[in-house]
Symmetry: C2
Subunit: 387 residues, 2 copies
């Protein structure tokens, strides 16, 4: 086990009707806030009204910035920063999924930074101190409701880059599984893939003696797998929606990664795909992860055997460990396909015309991944396996 520091102080408020507490949780951070959200879904569902009423009851003055898109753009972040500075806003409330929360985090980081906010993503600048933010989560997926990171897309060059800082963690996040009843099956499945990927990125490590976190990862994966079909076929099943929502948070609150160095190569490759093609992050991960597994499993076959056995109940064939490992990868791929995810680039309507460009861009700062180091030629091969 590696030395580590773990600290995650986000206050998580989980369950039915908890969105009504947003006013009393927000007012702790001041009487003026920026309400940040995406398209019209929160207005259609009534959540917008509930939130606004709760804020008004606490005498909070609310400025609004909607319009966050999936793969959130830096231009809207710049708009948010301007709005906060001009109005002396000290708190940002994100109501939505990971994209909205990531956009809010980028605004929070940019307000106290003198240069252009993109500097904080391309390595030119360093995040120092963020405005406090809070969230009302509507899509279990990204884990951004408790993580210290954000991913933003720059339209200029179609770069998708991340940055992180401890002060970026939300002060509170409100999670009501009932708010996810209206999520379409495809978006639900994208979220499920994303949270599974967060666990898998941590699971595939070269660190030895990480039994506790291995087992916690496996338990969370099994829970997600068991409840995935239920929420897709029976979207108002509150028990299963709750399991999925809480799993999405646990997947990315860092407990599962303590003492180990995760891989994150698949995430980085996916960022290149969704940076150019603007497909959902989860769908991109469903395409990349199985290909990545097929490319790297020989690097530590025992770990892939353990994964196959403990997560997918594949019996271990001691005379053919490779067969066992491959059965686990095949089950992963089949599962992702069964919940409606594309598992090949072509299923997402993506050809091979940008494979070399994506591989070059993705590795321009150095090789990707930690479990196995991936250079430009490796990424090309993985993307070709995903064709």
């Amino acid at each position: 086990m590696e030395n580590f520091v773990f600290q995650n102080g986000t206050k998580l408020i989980f369950g039915k009707d908890t969105e009504k507490l947003v006013g009393q949780e927000s007012v702790v951070y001041g009487k003026k806030l920026l309400l940040h959200y995406g398209g019209g879904s929160i207005k259609l569902s009534g959540l917008y009204d509930t939130v606004l009423q709760s804020l008004t009851e606490q005498g909070i003055e609310t400025f609004e910035l909607g319009g966050v898109k999936p793969n959130p753009r830096v231009c809207l972040v710049r708009e948010g920063i301007k709005l906060c500075k001009e109005n002396n806003i000290g708190f940002i409330l994100a109501v939505g999924g990971g994209s909205v929360i990531d956009s809010a985090k980028a605004i929070a980081a940019g307000v106290n930074y003198d240069g252009d906010v993109w500097d904080l993503f391309n390595g030119k600048g360093v995040v120092k101190d963020c405005l406090p933010i809070g969230t009302v989560l509507t899509i279990p997926a990204a884990g951004s409701e408790t993580s210290n990171g954000t991913v933003i897309t720059n339209e200029d060059g179609l770069y998708k880059r991340s940055t992180s800082h401890n002060t970026m963690r939300p002060k509170f996040s409100i999670l009501n599984p009932i708010l996810t009843f209206t999520l379409p099956a495809y978006q639900t499945a994208c979220g499920i893939t994303d949270m599974m990927a967060h666990i898998l990125e941590r699971y595939f490590t070269n660190e030895k003696n990480v039994e506790l976190t291995d087992r916690l990862c496996e338990g969370a994966l099994r829970t997600i797998i068991n409840n995935a079909q239920v929420v897709i076929q029976d979207p108002t099943n509150s028990a299963a929606r709750a399991e999925i929502m809480w799993s999405g948070t646990i997947a990315h609150n860092d407990i599962l990664g303590t003492g180990r160095i995760g891989d994150w190569g698949s995430h980085d490759i996916e960022h290149e795909i969704s940076g150019i093609y603007d497909i959902a992050h989860g769908a991109g991960l469903a395409i990349v992860f199985p290909a990545w597994m097929k490319y790297v499993y020989k690097h530590d076959i025992n770990r892939f055997v353990q994964f196959a056995n403990r997560v997918w109940d594949v019996e271990i064939d001691l005379n053919n460990l490779e067969k066992t490992a491959l059965a686990g990868i095949r089950k992963t791929e089949k599962f992702l396909s069964s919940i409606g995810m594309p598992i090949r680039l072509k299923e997402a309507g993506i050809g091979d015309e940008h494979i070399e460009e994506m591989s070059k861009k993705g590795t321009e700062k150095g090789p990707l991944g930690n479990f196995a180091k991936l250079y430009e030629t490796d990424v090309i091969k993985i993307l070709n396996l995903a064709k």
Copy 2:
């Protein structure tokens, strides 16, 4: 799943040599602290010197109060409160195991309370605001390094009572598994029992649809079970010591209890035993838990079957679920015995002379437990099963 709020902001610093960081972590909370510890073991091991050097390097003025005993006493807590008030001390550093940390928490709570500190344990007073505390943990067991609670014994009447408050959580805790190499086998086993009990208390719940936390509990239990014999037989095995130490923290940081109401009846019964007989808390739990299981398993046989199957690999006999459940209980009992714990009162030299008194005292504020409600007569029966 129940609605819940989860927040645990303790900064956990884990790994080799981390005790050398204690000065820089402490100085954030001021230049004056109370160093609280137990007997001489930290002086013998050299930890005392390391801590003092680190504090001195940061220019921290250190007041000392040693002498904390297992089942920490309120009289020493009162002494600590006096010391803090007289010297205007604003931070307490606990170096030791759960008893030292619990004692430090009680001091931290008492300094800002006008009446006698015991009021905060017997329901007469309410904890409001605690001094910040930090810890260097030397015994993985109680989970006090990140929990919001403390248990103190009052010599006057031999009452052992608990209290909790969010501001009681340590600001930071330093966990170096190497510091646990010198723990004797018996104390190691007591710690293992205590952390298992923290998980079991949460595991046995009436709440339905708690799959994620069930699986996280099961993973943590399996990890503890797998590493227990290793640390007892090979006390300087750093990998196994690390698994046990991190498991002890995860067992009690509240993640495993989210969305469910735990039982805690066995803990309460044990407090009556160790309140009178002054045996180690873990040893008391090893005696009480199997007896409790035997007494209550019929209340939800499926849960005990799941426990037997997923934690102990007992094959499920669908035609005889009771047999499966009992096999899991038997395995629990055998395991505790195999690591050197007493599993009957008589093995700890305890007769049946105080069974009725303990049962009466334990239930004087109402029935114990949540999984099954235990009244005075139930506690008598459980203690008789444990004879």
